[in-house]
């Protein structure tokens, strides 16, 4: 039992090595940029600036109860969005459409929520959430069906749908569901459909919901036949067909589930933080979600930690900017660098002199090939 746990821990450690080193490298390079730019930001040349900046970033993210709730609130939609992208990856699909699904989910939650603004909270909250999830799922289903039926690549179709969705919703909020008493196009407040706050000023129920989603997706992927089908189609579609799993069904289903998670991310952000839909709301969660899924290696637990990190960056950045005058945009640079290093894994391996993974596989292969001698090998 203990040995099994140790093995699992070692495996997790191996999986997390490259992501952790990528983060470290990104922070180091961003530190150099901070020092270099400190000359122009009025602080003057100050080599220790990164220490103060990162110290304040950390304090802003974890330094107080409020800081921690801010981090969690920022992380929740990233968890759901990261799961959306990660689930797609497991199924061999690159869902770049989380941004659109996020907007669709937010819009649907706003429309349903504002129309139930005076209904009992339980009904209003649930209905708005379900509407958001369904809108995301519907929007995910479209590229899924196109892929399965015609072979249209989901990267192309989801990017196009992102634009189509944003513009369609901008039109809808101006022409169809605009609240007349405001000077800019927006919906009415969602009233009772707002997510209940559990703790402090802003820790809404969407946060535990996102945690539940992490474990639900993990369970789906690892413990259900549907998850097995999704992973098989993703890992080897030929073998899936051979085994009698129809990709024509599984691919749209995977995209719909992915969209459902993206839509839910939009719904909890709207019901928990924003409170109404306006055409200018940011869908950047949809793109940060791709980074979260990559950093988390599409593993739900990895996505949990990656989302917490990115949430911490978002929550801590204002304090960093106020106290050290390092601009918030540094966070974008750090995130971009992390993705760069994850993509160019070889650079990270060079810098830290890690052996390539190929030799690990080769080693394992040769071990099993010499299995003929029972004395050496039988477990």
């Amino acid at each position: 039992m203990i040995a099994a746990l140790a093995r699992a821990a070692a495996a997790a450690g191996r999986l997390a090595t490259i992501p952790l080193l990528s983060i470290l490298l990104a922070l180091a390079i961003a530190a150099v940029l901070m020092v270099a730019s400190s000359v122009y930001t009025g602080v003057g040349f100050f080599p220790l600036l990164p220490l103060f900046a990162y110290g304040n970033l950390f304090a802003g993210a974890f330094g107080s109860g409020t800081a921690i709730t801010n981090t969690l609130v920022a992380a929740a939609p990233l968890m759901l969005g990261g799961l959306a992208v990660g689930l797609g990856f497991k199924g061999g699909l690159f869902n770049i459409g989380v941004a659109g699904q996020f907007l669709a989910g937010a819009f649907a939650a706003a429309v349903v929520g504002s129309s139930l603004a005076d209904a009992p909270a339980a009904i209003a909250v649930t209905s708005a959430l379900v509407a958001g999830a369904a809108a995301g799922a519907g929007l995910g289903l479209i590229p899924g069906i196109l892929k399965a039926r015609t072979g249209a690549h989901e990267v192309v179709t989801t990017i196009m749908l992102n634009n189509a969705t944003a513009l369609l919703l901008a039109w809808a909020v101006t022409e169809l569901v605009r609240a007349p008493e405001f000077t800019f196009p927006r919906t009415n407040d969602i009233g009772n459909a707002a997510l209940p706050v559990l703790l402090g000023r802003n820790l809404h129920i969407g946060v535990p919901l996102a945690f539940v989603a992490i474990f639900a997706v993990r369970w789906l992927l690892e413990r259900t036949t549907l998850g097995f089908e999704i992973r098989t189609v993703g890992a080897n579609p030929n073998a899936a067909r051979y085994a009698g799993m129809p990709p024509v069904v599984i691919v749209p289903l995977t995209m719909a589930l992915s969209g459902l998670l993206g839509g839910t991310a939009g719904a909890i952000q709207l019901q928990g933080v924003i409170g109404f839909y306006a055409s200018g709301i940011s869908a950047s969660v949809g793109f940060d979600a791709i980074a979260v899924a990559l950093l988390g290696r599409s593993n739900p637990i990895g996505i949990l930690f990656a989302a917490l990190l990115f949430g911490a960056f978002r929550a801590g950045a204002p304090l960093m900017q106020i106290t050290t005058r390092v601009p918030i945009e540094v966070i974008d640079i750090i995130q971009a660098l992390i993705i760069l290093f994850l993509a160019a894994e070889l650079i990270v391996r060079r810098v830290f002199r890690l052996r390539a993974r190929a030799t690990e596989i080769e080693g394992a292969a040769t071990v099993t090939q010499t299995w003929a001698e029972p004395s050496v090998t039988r477990p």
């Binding site: 413990r223 259900t224 036949t225 549907l226 097995f228 992973r231 098989t232 890992a235 080897n236 030929n238 073998a239 067909r241 051979y242 085994a243 009698g244 799993m245 129809p246 030799t359 596989i361 080769e362 080693g363 394992a364 292969a365 040769t366 071990v367 099993t368 090939q369 010499t370 299995w371 003929a372 090998t377 477990p379």
Partner: protein, 522 residues
């Protein structure tokens, strides 16, 4: 007689020049990979004008040794001598410069280029700084081909050539680069008997011209026929060196495997029962829309093995895919014990108790990145006991895997190991273990391609056990030996039609070979 006397006597009997430096010598080559010794002080010496057979099971270290020779891997210990001089080979370009040529099992040719273009690729004949001189290249290639006795048109595109002819292009490529030491890796694996004989003539002619040839194979009879000396390696070490005259297939096989093996599985007598698989007037198109199965009829009874012999690419693949539901036929019927299964989905066909071992185990048969237990239940994951409702039953999945690992002797540390870490033979055992069982029909497509003697023997024995248990077995193989050895009845397929049918007891190898190649007997 002591060892030394025997060696002296052997040397005296040898017709090879003694005293001259060997064309190639590898001394004490040792290569360690993490956890294993791939080559353990391997000595190998090859004389000028010698064909040297290199025998060994998969994973025995043949490939590592040849990769060291070709500069792809650096040895930990040992040295390589060419014409008696120690050399260090850093990379393949180095190896080519020293006259070493390699013909790989999988051809490295560009199908849309001509023979001449393929041969000169990377060693182009130029007219001025930018222009290719294809005319001059063709002349040189034609001269070279004549010298070694090839009939080949340098202007023809490689995709129009047969597999045997493509292999000659590979050999020409090596010779064109000045190879005097030629390494051929499993050169006959994809050839018909006639093509094999032709390539042997070429090799003998090259030997006459003074070339040294390393012939890697696991086909014992061929090595015995062509080689002047045979080195057998097992688990990285040389376990014997023999001359064909002084040894037998049985001895070589025992050396290779390290225990006594039965080369010919005793097929016993079959007791065919009711008609199981019936294919009538089947027409199937390939991916490009060409009709490649053109009105094919075939019957397999329960309790018999029917072998489909044919040169690769005559519609076998599409025939199999149409039977198992992976490809929709355009016409014709497939019935199983009288029940129509034409055009059913792969799952419906499976649920009619059809097992299927696909030709490409890595592409179709396995998910390489998945652990073994998931691969063992790949086709039945959705049914009890592996799942109740949509929830997987991990304990049952694991128990099933452990049972099959033991029953089929899959060499692995355990069921949670990824399939990609297994050797080819063990991967195939995983597929076979999953597909064999209580089946009405088993379709075997190239079931032992690329496998070593031990795994092949094992799989053949299991196939016969299945037959004896009353399963109908359809065997498709490009390896005529396998067809002859295993089948109770043999049909020959040519251009999508059955052109001949034989009872296994009366089957003549040469007649079948000719039918395979031409579609008609002589």
């Amino acid at each position: 007689m002591t060892e030394e006397e025997r060696a002296a006597q052997e040397a005296a009997r040898s017709s090879l020049p003694v005293g001259r430096a060997p064309a190639l010598e590898m001394r004490g080559i040792t290569k360690r990979f993490p956890g294993t010794l791939a080559n353990d002080h391997v000595d190998l010496s090859i004389q000028p004008g010698e064909i040297h057979g290199l025998l060994g099971e998969n994973g025995a270290g043949k490939t590592t040794l040849m990769n060291i020779l070709y500069g792809l891997i650096a040895p930990d210990e040992g040295e390589v001598l060419i014409d008696g001089k120690a050399v260090t080979i850093h990379d393949p370009a180095d190896a080519i410069a020293r006259g070493i040529g390699m013909v790989h099992q999988h051809f490295m040719l560009v199908p849309v280029l001509t023979v001449a273009e393929n041969v000169i690729l990377g060693a182009e004949v130029m007219r001025g700084p930018v222009l290719l001189d294809l005319g001059e290249a063709s002349r040189r290639i034609r001269a070279l081909a004549e010298q070694v006795g090839f009939q080949i048109d340098p202007g023809v595109r490689v995709e129009q050539l047969s597999v045997g002819q493509q292999q000659r292009v590979e050999i020409l490529k090596a010779l064109y680069r000045g190879a005097r030491i030629l390494v051929l890796d499993e050169p006959t694996a994809v050839l018909t008997p006639q093509e094999t004989e032709e390539i042997f003539q070429v090799l003998r002619r090259l030997r006459g011209e003074g070339a040294s040839i390393v012939f890697i194979s696991h086909k014992l009879d061929e090595v015995l026929r062509i080689a002047d000396r045979i080195t057998v390696i097992r688990r990285g070490a040389v376990v014997g060196e023999r001359r064909p005259a002084d040894t037998s297939e049985q001895e070589l096989a025992d050396l290779m495997v390290g225990r006594e093996v039965s080369l010919r599985v005793d097929r016993g007598t079959s007791h065919p029962g009711e008609v199981s698989l019936q294919v009538t007037g089947l027409r199937v198109q390939d991916d490009r829309g060409h009709e490649v199965v053109r009105g094919l009829d075939l019957t397999v009874r329960s309790g018999e093995i029917v072998g489909v012999a044919g040169v690769a690419g005559n519609g076998q693949e599409e025939l199999v895919e149409a039977i198992v539901g992976l490809r929709k036929p355009s016409a014709g019927r497939v019935t199983l014990a009288g029940r129509d299964i034409t055009g059913r989905s792969p799952r419906q066909v499976r649920e009619a108790r059809v097992g299927y071992v696909p030709a490409d185990r890595q592409r179709y048969g396995l998910v390489l990145s998945f652990p073994l237990d998931d691969n063992f239940c790949l086709t039945e994951y959705y049914r009890p006991p592996f799942a109740s409702g949509i929830v997987r039953n991990e304990a049952a999945i694991r128990r099933h895997a452990e049972k099959l690992i033991a029953e089929f002797d899959v060499r692995t540390p355990g069921p949670s190991v990824r399939a990609q870490t297994l050797s080819g033979g063990n991967q195939q055992k995983v597929v076979v273990a999953r597909e064999f069982g209580d089946d009405a029909l088993i379709v075997l497509d190239q079931p032992t391609r690329g496998l070593d003697v031990g795994s092949t023997e094992f799989i053949h024995r299991r196939a016969i056990e299945q037959r004896d248990a009353g399963t109908a077995v359809l065997l498709v193989s490009a390896d005529l030996d396998e067809i002859l050895e295993l089948s109770d009845r043999i049909v020959v397929i040519h251009r999508g039609r059955v052109v001949g049918e034989f009872d296994a007891r009366e089957a003549e190898r040469d007649r079948i070979g000719l039918l395979m190649a031409r579609g008609e007997a002589a």
